[in-house]
Symmetry: C2
Subunit: 670 residues, 2 copies
């Protein structure tokens, strides 16, 4: 692999490893609006346990499988055609599905993932594949800096003719993020150079004083802020800020779905709720946070927090999934959360993790880390099979035993999608997941997510190294051991996951603290010495949670959780000859933990008594025992029925208050 | 208005008025598979009451408003361009929305409505508008018989290049039906001549021995059977039969939505359930019944009945609406019946009335008339405003108080739609509604739907004339008076609506019969004399019906009905400052009938006690009185919230079985 010189950047000197820049996708500058500082991803390792396994599968299997799929789907072919001298479009006989205008981003996200992975350790296959792809991207870029293989090859070659649907800024945004990853992770500026020229092309036409224009799909805003953070070139921040301000004034028109679809219905700093296409809204709000932090714009930051708070309260699935509507991939009305027709796109979960991280850094509030945890363990992780080779784009919370004709296949994971935004997005998130684990501030170190491994950080007094040992989320004990510490006291802050019960924190002196029941975190302030240990101990009892009465689609149902995990029932977990639709549980059901290593390594399942019902009118009875598995693990066995929300016996009982004759169907239909 | 000679047809002599053909959209031939015979629409009049008012509004307001909309939307302009000598496409500056390939059908359905209306009585404005449109259609037809203004003007002029999406057969199907209406209603063969030439063009290329091809949107099949019935030209029946047999073998490919979308996944005679796009499935099954009846194909008829029975049991909304999914306008899985995201397209309701009528004629079973009644009074009629000028394409069963940004408008009716299939479909159904009211067989006369007016029919012994007097659906008394009867005894069969209670039938001698509780109809066999009366008396108590426990989306809710009417609650019917989402009723609630002429003429509403809840956790209380109005009348006041399914107090009560701290959102979200 050839290295090109580092692009000069203001953060070059901040990393803990001297000249090498910090391996972090998000690096806020010092700002009154930024409470916490990210760590260098290189200073955090997850060596064993839940997340380490997922990171390893992503590195050793998923990224390679993604390369094969990108070849097969024609993404490279599109770039190759753009790179060709004549640039004439030839039919792509080997593409599956239409050549969408955003196909380049799948290459960029996959390259971003490799950028983070190579920072963690060399891999010749990845290096070869990435070098080839980077050369191709460079060759595809027009000499004026423009790059979008769809426009160059299929779309007539004229840039920026269809900002609403063309995804041109969006593609450059992903290119920038890939460039940032290679720069910060590997000190390799090849992609960043390409990205800067592409960003400059946009800036020349749409920057301050230029044409008013925004992309139908936000994404570039956060990338541009990071580009400013890396290069120190203020024009990128100004362009990002300008794009944020221009949105919400109807520039894009109504399109097929109305202007709220692309968040162009209300200014970003005044819109009170999330609206429209979920991924668009979440990427936009990531950029808004970044701009707010860098420009000290409290009003803009507050607007994002207000939307986030309302979203989590009224429009988020229990899995962390976002987006209730398939029609326009959009948020629904408040409390419109159908489990069966849930969209809950994997990309929306990923985007919400990215947004949660920015808000956590800006505010220091544990609720954002709580949300990241819920999404990562459930709605995000359901997007990839346990073996790392098959994906979900849509993550429903219910699939019925009897499905509409031709839909058997729909319930299963796919190796790739015609619109394959989710799989490479998943790759880049898992490749950078250690960046979300901990942070620092002037007081000390904060641990937000738990996994066995090591954390290194600079505190005011000097370098600190920690070791974390835990079987979380399967068990509730987290042991933190100090490996190295300066003499000066500092504060170790540990988030208390909301799924924990009877929480105790035992400090090096053996003192046991019981944090208040609603504490989001616990602080241990002291002068630490090597080999000091702190133990966070929680019980992780199964919890049965009733549906909010305002959520119409899950009225009369409960969901079962344990720790950060949401559970579901699949056909394989109930007796033969029972249909999942006929299963109900008592409202006061008490599930017990069980070993489910038959489903996947280390998996803790739940077991509980249930009743079955046959048909519309027969009464409940026939107590059976059913199993539940973590939602993230569903659809790894035979394609069958699944449900997260389980009807309670009371709600499932037939209640016929009409004794006279009615049309046969009147009691049977909807 | 100029008349052209009658096209010769085998049914010409069957009508009760001598030479004039019968005014009926469906005229099955004598067949072992046809139990009942339709009456001439001209022999049935609805003179006052519920349906008479709707028919009058349709005639005096809706059809004229439709004419203005067709002009505005560019439908005539498309035909005019096709008619032009050069045929070059000019941008349609006055069109709203894209020029869909099926725009011609809006003209045809509107013409069909006028055909039926002019049979009922002259109207100079309608005649002028129709004459002009017919001239235009004739001028637009290519000399070889082909006609589709989209293909001729926009689509490049080459026929049958995109059978899957082109809607070319579909358009000809509607043209044929308009031609049938003008022929049978007015003895005017102008449109039928055009339609025959268009059908012949298709037959030459796709008839027996020709190319294998079917249209992505079934419709022409039933039209071709009627064309055979009218003209006696066997090739039309053969073509219809061929199109039915060709479907279900993958000819259309998977398209965007899979082959089940257009019912091409399984042969029509073996598919066990409805599937895919609801209107496509229902039109297809109309054609399948027609072919089955004419060819004596019991297996094919049984397949349709089997699908219909399953559909009504598992996939039909309580309003009669069909189609749960917006994404592909499709049926959902069994019991997937979300009230908020219901599609329930007005056209699907209309198509199901058309299918129900064919099955009623074929079998004589009252359940099909029951279904027609439920759909007409609820899911169909909700498609048009009380004043006849504004329409719904989608008919949800719930609209929330708080909606997603930019969706305020979405809850209201529109004067027209870019894809405006529903309004003119509604026009033609209401213009021909008297055709669905009664039938004859060798035993006598059957009355299926109740409205004040007169019915004339031929019985074996001679002509019969009846007078019906009723305030149904507001009141449950139906008085039938014999005006004329032969001396020979015959049977008067009256359907017993499933919403009736304590049903009695009093015969001319004063004998009172109490039919069994589950009787679908009652027979009165006797030698009738003029002035004999039969009284069908029913109580129409409000009924409270619990949701089927298998219907996830309405678990823990009840629906309130009275007679054939499904009721709903709108914001205007609950106290100020209460949100509709916070209203619950007792499972044993007993609504009482109230006068609601404030909403619309004669409307009987319901009133009942209810509880309100504030937020997720506060308990229920604060008894209030709420009103409910018939579903068909919703959205005629201010655009606001509405719901058909009402949560019960038990299901609405917060049930928190988890006493420990959970993430703030865990109890609030999905």
């Amino acid at each position: 692999m050839t290295r090109t010189p580092t692009v000069p950047g203001r953060h070059d000197e901040r990393g803990p490893e001297g000249r090498r820049p910090m391996r972090s996708a998000v690096l806020p500058g010092d700002s009154a609006l930024s409470r916490l500082r990210p760590l260098d991803g290189a200073a955090v390792s997850m060596t064993s346990g839940f997340w380490a396994e997922r990171i390893r599968t992503n590195r050793t299997t998923t990224i390679g499988a993604g390369h094969a799929q990108l070849i097969h789907a024609g993404n490279f072919q599109n770039l190759r055609l753009a790179a060709g001298a004549n640039g004439r479009y030839q039919a792509l006989s080997d593409t599956s599905g239409s050549p969408f205008p955003f196909l380049d981003t799948d290459v960029y996200k996959w390259l971003e993932a490799i950028g983070w992975e190579l920072g963690r350790g060399r891999d010749p296959d990845m290096e070869t594949a990435a070098d080839e792809a980077i050369d191709l991207v460079r060759a595809a870029q027009h000499e004026d800096g423009y790059i979008n293989s769809y426009v160059q090859v299929v779309g007539g070659g004229l840039p920026y003719r269809d900002l609403a649907w063309g995804h041109e800024f969006y593609c450059v945004g992903h290119l920038i993020q890939a460039g940032i990853a290679w720069q910060r992770s590997l000190d390799d500026g090849r992609l960043l150079g390409i990205a800067m020229r592409a960003a400059d092309h946009i800036d020349r036409e749409f920057g301050p004083g230029g044409r008013d224009g925004i992309d139908g799909h936000p994404e570039i805003e956060m990338a541009l802020v990071e580009l400013w953070r890396t290069t120190g070139e203020r024009r990128y921040l100004d362009l990002a800020s300008r794009l944020i301000e221009l949105r919400g004034h109807g520039l894009l028109g109504a399109g097929r779905f109305g202007s709220a679809y692309w968040q162009d219905h209300a200014p970003v700093r005044t819109a009170t709720t999330v609206a429209g296409h979920a991924v668009r809204q979440l990427y936009l709000d990531c950029g808004a946070v970044d701009v707010a932090v860098e420009t000290g714009d409290q009003e803009l930051l507050d607007a994002v927090i207000r939307r986030w708070t309302d979203m989590v309260a009224t429009r988020r699935y229990v899995t962390g999934g976002l987006g209730s509507r398939r029609w326009d991939e959009a948020f629904g009305d408040p409390y419109e959360l159908p489990p069966d027709q849930a969209y809950a796109e994997t990309c929306a979960s990923i985007a919400s993790v990215m947004l949660g991280w920015r808000l956590l850094l800006a505010t220091g509030e544990p609720r954002f880390a709580d949300a990241i945890e819920r999404t990562m363990f459930n709605g995000m992780l359901s997007g990839v099979s346990l073996d790392g080779t098959r994906f979900f784009y849509v993550n429903p919370l219910q699939v019925r035993s009897r499905r509409s004709a031709g839909e058997g296949e729909g319930a299963g994971r796919k190796a790739w999608y015609p619109c394959a935004c989710c799989p490479p997005n998943l790759m880049r998130l898992l490749s950078s997941w250690e960046q979300y684990v901990a942070s620092t501030d002037d007081a000390g170190i904060q641990i937000h997510q738990y996994g066995s491994g090591t954390i290194a950080a600079e505190t005011a007094g000097g370098p600190v190294r920690l070791e974390v040992e835990t079987d979380y989320p399967w068990h509730g004990r987290v042991l933190v051991r100090i490996l190295e510490s300066p003499a000066e006291p500092w504060t170790l802050t540990m988030r208390i996951p909301p799924g924990g019960r009877s929480v105790t924190v035992t400090d090096p002196a053996g003192s046991v603290v019981r944090p208040p029941v609603d504490a989001g975190s616990v602080d241990c302030h002291r002068a630490w010495r090597a080999d000091d240990t702190v133990e966070l101990a929680m019980e992780l009892p199964p919890r049965v949670i009733a549906s909010d009465p305002r959520t119409d689609a899950t009225r009369g149902c409960v969901v079962v959780e344990r720790g950060p995990l949401v559970y579901c029932i699949e056909t394989a977990d109930i007796p033969d000859a029972v249909e999942l639709e006929d299963v109900a549980v008592a409202e006061a059901v008490e599930p017990v933990a069980t070993d489910r290593s038959d489903v996947g390594a280390s998996i803790v399942g739940l077991s509980m008594p249930a009743s079955i019902r046959k048909g519309a009118t027969s009464t409940l009875g026939n107590d059976i025992e059913i199993g539940a598995i973590p939602y993230f693990a569903w659809a790894n066995r035979a394609v069958a029925a699944m449900r997260v929300w389980i009807p309670t016996v009371d709600s499932a009982a037939p209640t016929d208050t009409d004794t006279g004759p009615v049309e046969g169907s009147a009691q049977r239909d909807g």
